[in-house]
């Protein structure tokens, strides 16, 4: 009895201590109490603050770009925040008063207000990194993104997979990808350079920031140009909407699509032959490179005026290879 009681006391004592430690640990290690985990923890302070201005769209392109920028800011001694350029123009206008060390801007339309504000920011000496669309030229304005001429050439290379000698290509630009739209002539030159005589006719269209605008544009285009062989989209969302429109119109096989971006659905349609291929940019790399460029400007005073983040093309052979590889 005495021995049991001694063990019981010891056991309860240990349980009490253990429980107390667990309790204290729970309290101490709780994120609510950890100052290190609190947003206002001064120990996490960085040296530079950069603001990103982009369309407030929940596209995977922008999400990847943000992820790249955030990872870069974590890796480097800087902090970034993201502002809407289309819905909150005032923030963009007030950027020069916000105490920021530089901005990265994705100009989706070259409106006079945006351009003048960019000029003003540039005049105030705040470094500007223009993503995908080189809206202004200035000593402290830099470009980062894909080369539009290369993009046109890539589109042409994919179009060559179409088993037709003379094709009619419809190029649909998008406000969601303003860089390509603003350099439309470069894209088209690149396309023509690659296709040569096999390009019978080239028509263009344009979608807005509306996510389902592509359907309307495809209908219009096909109405105006019923002999269109290939439709080229410049945004991933537009690509998905356009594919659905072609399927709905029962034109699969008759009209082929060159998409934009990489997505499981797009891959599946490439494998099935609905989509001829896709132009793939690397938004993560773009975001990361933008922060890296801003940091370089802040610390050493300059960076490369033109940074090409490159593009890839996704064809049926590539998708099949990956698909078969994953099956094995």
């Amino acid at each position: 009895m005495g021995k049991y009681l001694k063990f019981l006391t010891l056991f309860l004592g240990l349980v009490f201590i253990g429980f107390f430690i667990v309790s204290v640990r729970l309290l101490i290690l709780n994120p609510l109490l950890l100052s290190a985990d609190q947003p206002g923890d001064p120990s996490r302070a960085k040296s530079f603050h950069y603001a990103f201005f982009m369309p407030s769209s929940d596209y995977s392109f922008f999400n990847s770009l943000k992820a790249g920028a955030l990872d870069a800011s974590d890796a480097m001694d800087c902090a970034v925040n993201f502002n809407s350029i289309n819905e909150d123009m005032l923030s963009f206008e007030m950027a020069s008063f916000s105490g920021i060390d530089g901005i990265a801007v994705f100009v989706y339309d070259n409106s006079p207000a945006v351009l003048s504000e960019l000029e003003e920011i540039s005049r105030l000496g705040i470094p500007i990194v223009q993503i995908e669309n080189e809206a202004i030229i200035g000593s402290n304005a830099f470009f980062i993104g894909t080369n539009s001429f290369d993009s046109g050439k890539s589109i042409g290379r994919i179009a060559l997979f179409a088993e037709k000698n003379a094709v009619h290509i419809a190029l649909i630009y998008s406000e969601k990808n303003p860089g390509l739209m603003s350099d439309a002539n470069l894209v088209e030159i690149g396309l023509k350079t690659t296709m040569g005589d096999r390009l019978r006719e080239l028509s263009t269209g344009r979608t807005s920031l509306n996510p389902i605008d592509a359907e309307r544009v495809v209908y219009d285009l096909l109405l105006r140009n019923p002999d269109t062989d290939i439709i080229v989209l410049s945004d991933m969302n537009d690509t998905l909407v356009a594919i659905q429109a072609i399927i709905d119109l029962n034109l699969v096989g008759q009209i082929q699509i060159i998409g934009f971006g990489e997505d499981e659905t797009i891959r599946e349609y490439i494998r099935k032959g609905v989509v001829l291929g896709s132009i793939v940019r690397n938004p993560y790399r773009i975001g990361y490179s933008a922060v890296m460029a801003l940091k370089e400007i802040s610390t050493i005073g300059y960076t490369s005026a033109y940074i090409d983040t490159g593009i890839n093309i996704l064809t049926r052979a590539e998708v099949e290879r990956v698909h078969n590889g994953s099956l094995r």
């Binding site: 429980f19 309790s23 309290l27 947003p39 923890d41 001064p42 960085k46 603050h49 005032l90 105490g99």
Partner: protein, 493 residues
């Protein structure tokens, strides 16, 4: 007060229990306060930005009043509010990698810009630069709107963040409450277990003590000592109990020894009493034999003188020997007498017997003369033995009876032997004679002489069974042997 005493232990256990309880409750209180603080801090920041927004909104009216009516009071109010806002916003603006924190930082810079712009407007108003201050005023309104929008965004973001945190806060609060409850329950059980253990530390030894007391009361003193670790008082009781057990055991042993000694003393006394009784009987025997020794001695002396006067020489010699015998018997009152005295007494007695039995009795004495002065022997042992032979050995014998008295020293034993060639003694009688008498034994009147000598030898030398021996053969004679151990003190009180 010793560290292990009951009071200290009670105080210690009570204190530990109280400390645990107070600690648990204190911990709970601390947790609650901490949680309250967390909640307060979260809202404190929101409150700060709301105040900032209010201050900024208050600027608008005096600014407008000043611009429209040159109101100096408005200007004063404006300047005061501007200063108040400047004091409120922090100078240190760390760049923190968080959307809301960056927004806050932006707000501080925007407020700086706004105040600078208001300052410009005031200067331009003073300089009557109408176009400039009008344009600047428009810009300031835009800036103010943006600041308000930003603060609203911060509030919204903060609210969302807090809403998200609130769930975690509630979860944490609930968890802590449950844990606190469990902590108190465990602490209570722990405190009870401590008290129980202390109680058992006291009661178990007490139980063992009572068990031991029970065994001791049954007379079992061989139980092992109690040893246990408990409080001082109990340990002292146990120690005292062990000591008491030893003491009682010791006293009882002492009493037993004393009782045994008393028993021995009593036995000794009884033996002495018997000795005295024997001596008295011997005296009585002597007295019976002498009637009135002095009277007889004087009378015999008178007879000796009469015989000399009448020239009766033999009668005179007989009477003289008789007188010597009486004198010896009267004179020797000691337990031990020189051997010479005893031999002389025997010779006197034999001289008398020689006159009575001139031809039928022969006494042979065989001893070394040197032994007579060297050793002592119990008083009156030779004459009774010789007398016994004379009276009983030759009753049915027709020839001359010979009694041989032999004294030899067989170091360290003095051997005195009285041997006759008479009829012998029956085995039963020998057995009876050689049996040491118990205290209750009553001496018979007929065997006083021999029996007296035998019993005296046993009493004088109780440790030596061979002090006296009888060797007898029916029809051939009897030898009575006395062995006196000269190195052993005879038992005489």
């Amino acid at each position: 007060m010793r560290r292990n005493s009951l009071w200290v232990k009670l105080l210690l256990y009570q204190s530990i229990s109280m400390i645990i309880m107070v600690f648990s409750i204190g911990f709970i209180l601390l947790n609650s306060l901490n949680l309250q603080n967390i909640a307060y801090e979260r809202f404190q920041e929101e409150h700060y930005f709301q105040e900032l927004q209010t201050d900024l909104s208050e600027i608008q009216k005096p600014l407008q009043d000043y611009l429209t009516g040159w109101s100096s009071s408005s200007l004063a109010r404006l300047l005061f509010l501007m200063e108040t806002i400047r004091e409120k916003i922090p100078e240190e603006r760390p760049i923190l990698p968080d959307e809301t924190e960056l927004m806050k930082r932006e707000v501080y810079f925007l407020i700086d810009a706004y105040l600078a712009r208001v300052n410009n407007i005031i200067e331009q108003k003073r300089g009557r630069k109408v176009l400039e201050y009008t344009a600047n005023y428009e810009e300031s309104i835009k800036l103010y709107s943006h600041i308000s929008a930003r603060i609203n965004s911060i509030s919204l973001s903060g609210f969302r963040f807090q809403l998200k945190e609130y769930r975690g806060f509630l979860d944490l609060f609930r968890k802590i409450q449950y844990q606190n409850l469990l902590l108190v329950v465990i602490a209570t059980f722990f405190a009870y277990a401590l008290l129980l253990q202390m109680g058992q530390n006291i009661t178990t030894p007490m139980f063992d003590l009572s068990q031991m007391a029970g065994k001791l009361s049954d007379g079992n003193f061989d139980v092992p000592d109690l040893h246990f670790r408990s409080i001082n008082e109990v340990e002292q009781v146990a120690s005292a109990f062990n000591q008491m057990k030893k003491s009682i055991h010791h006293y009882i042993n002492e009493l037993k020894k004393q009782k045994e000694m008393e028993q021995q003393i009593m036995t000794e006394r009884v033996r002495n009493l018997k000795m005295e009784q024997l001596l008295k009987r011997m005296e009585l025997y002597t007295m019976q034999a002498q009637m009135n020794p002095h009277f007889l001695f004087n009378t015999i002396n008178t007879g000796v003188q009469l015989a000399i006067v009448e020239e009766a020489d033999k009668t005179a010699e007989f009477m003289e020997n008789l007188a010597k015998l009486f004198r010896y018997n009267i004179r020797e009152k000691k337990f031990f007498v020189p051997l010479r005295h005893e031999v002389e007494g025997l010779k006197t007695y034999y001289n008398i017997l020689k006159i009575r039995f001139p031809k039928t009795l022969k006494l042979v004495l065989d001893y070394d003369e040197g032994l007579l002065d060297r050793f002592s022997c119990p008083n009156m042992i030779l004459q009774p033995l010789v007398e016994n032979s004379v009276l009983h050995a030759f009753k049915k014998k027709n020839h001359t009876g010979t009694i041989m008295v032999r004294i030899v020293y067989e170091e360290p034993v003095l051997v005195i032997s009285v041997k006759d060639d008479g009829v012998g003694i029956s085995e039963n009688l020998v057995k009876d004679l050689l049996t040491p008498h118990s205290r209750d034994y009553q001496l018979g009147p007929k065997v006083m002489g021999l029996e007296n000598v035998i019993q005296r030898c046993y009493f004088l030398y109780p440790e030596h069974d061979d002090a006296i021996d009888i060797k007898t053969t029916q029809g051939e004679g009897t030898e009575i042997i006395i062995r006196l151990h000269t190195e052993v003190e005879p038992c005489i009180e």
